[in-house]
Amino acid sequence: MTPDAPPLLEVRNLSIRVANARSNLVDDVSFSLQPGRTLCIVGESGCGKSQTALALMGLLASPPLSVTGGTALFNGRDLLSLPQAEKQRIRGDRMAMIFQEPMSSLNPVLRIGEQIAEAVRRHRGVSNSVARARALEMLEKVRIPAAGKRLDEFPHQLSGGMRQRAMIAMALANDPELLLADEPTTALDVTIQAQILDLMRTLQAELGTAMILITHDLGVVAEMADEVAVMYAGRIVEIGATQDIFDDPQHPYTIGLMSSMPALGRRSERLVTIPGRVPSATDMPDGCRFASRCPFRIGICARTPELSNPGGSHRVACWRAPIEETYLQPQEAQPA
């Protein structure tokens, strides 16, 4: 599964905690990412996937959130312990991030071109005209029609899809090695979503950028990911190659997620739901955090399971894995 090249990003035992909380919001998260590859972090709202990305960027809302442990080696340097000025130098240059809300992620009083040029000037120390030319080039690269005219427009003159394209242009303006995308298509129309994903894939292939894509949409995962990390209540419960996880999900939560996804074609009874709800961020249970909702729960689930490789293809954090095929719901989701 893992090529021999050294990873671009290696996150080890990352933990994030809300001030005064009893347990970690993000707990002991580890993963690595090779240059040019895409890792999808999947999970429902509040599972800590966005906080993980923000922590890597050094943008965690602290206080009340703070990183309580772990390392994140990016090209050999630990992002979590870099001084502020160093982080600012890396952000927007070697690593960049795009956000969920294109409508509000651009400064309303700055022209599109100036905002992109600002990122270029900041990191390359080039003149205004060079930065502006780069901004134009980027707008063309993200296929904004009439890019020359859009350069001098304000964000409110652009549609949501176009703003997200502008955000991508801004993020990629300095050819970062790593792009973090936090639900980049969630706020967009379905047709625009497909266009943006397509654009991101094309640009990624062109520029060789590695990507961490955060989403709750398994359709997006199937389309974009080389590898998947499934997060539940702040922990990675299953991680591996996309194909392996879709073919042979091992964790009861992953299985539940996949059966709750509507499939085209065969129309079965009702969509499956996972009973219960996610434990509150400030009051996580000991042991396996999914146990209270898990149909396969047994006594040992009161202890925290480690990620291991019982089924052979990928790693999962569950005492019961591998769960026998016979337990599974009749319809198993297939990758799109």
Binding site: L59, I90, L106, N107, V109, L110, E118
Partner: protein, 292 residues
Amino acid sequence: MSTASHMPAAGLPTARRRSRAWAQLRTNPSAMFGAGLVAFFVVVALLAPVLPIPGPAETDWAAVRKAPSAEHWLGTDEIGRDVLSRMIWGAQASLLAGVVSVAIALGLGIPLGVVAGYRRGWTDAVISRITEALLAAPFLILAIALAAFLGPSLRNAMIAIGLSAMPVFIRLARGQTLLVMTEDYVESAHAIGLTNGAIIWRYVLPNIFPPLLVQATLTIATAIIAEASLSFLGLGQQPPAPSWGSMLNTAKAFLEQAPWMAMWPGIAIFLVVLGFNLLGDGLRDAFDPREN
């Protein structure tokens, strides 16, 4: 004195709000009337040196305390100076006091408020506690105390008024900064690695500007009254230089014999304050998304 409670929220995209705001302002008759009043006094004050009027300190012992006439349109004062001339030159002192003291309040209040809102933590705690302490003292009392401490002169009066008006701007700038800091575009500014200075200059300041502009306009009116009050008490403009406040002060001794001496400065203060208030109210309405 209006406070942050009815200031517009920095919620909507500011650029769109801004162009729409100006359009709305132009169609608001009372705001335009206010702007007209302000413009009238500004033009008159600026033209003072070229208007065919006697000098403001020129005395005419043959015409002491004369009622308005063709020769002296607004009458003369107790030592025969032309009241019209003193009114016009006095407008300079009043408007200057209004603008300069508000500039002082803005110049100190915005940086302190923005730093408090941006850095939070102990910086915010220190600045906010001092602001609250200053706000606990009534505006005019504070201005009088400061002016008395600094010594009577127009310059010191402006400093005293500016310092007294400053806490309102600190609080407003801090609150608006806190609001803007929660916006997604500030997070994306951090994400492209901009320095704090660049974020404050290009992202925070332009987006907190509208409510500060409204507050500044309304505060000019308050500052003009404060200057008149200080001059009335002898703490502002010093004789023989004219100011509306000091003219009122002199006039109170002659209210029965020469009521016009008190009437004109009173009317002028009323009109210019009315003008700034109408303009400020209009700006507030135009920038307030809830009323659009």
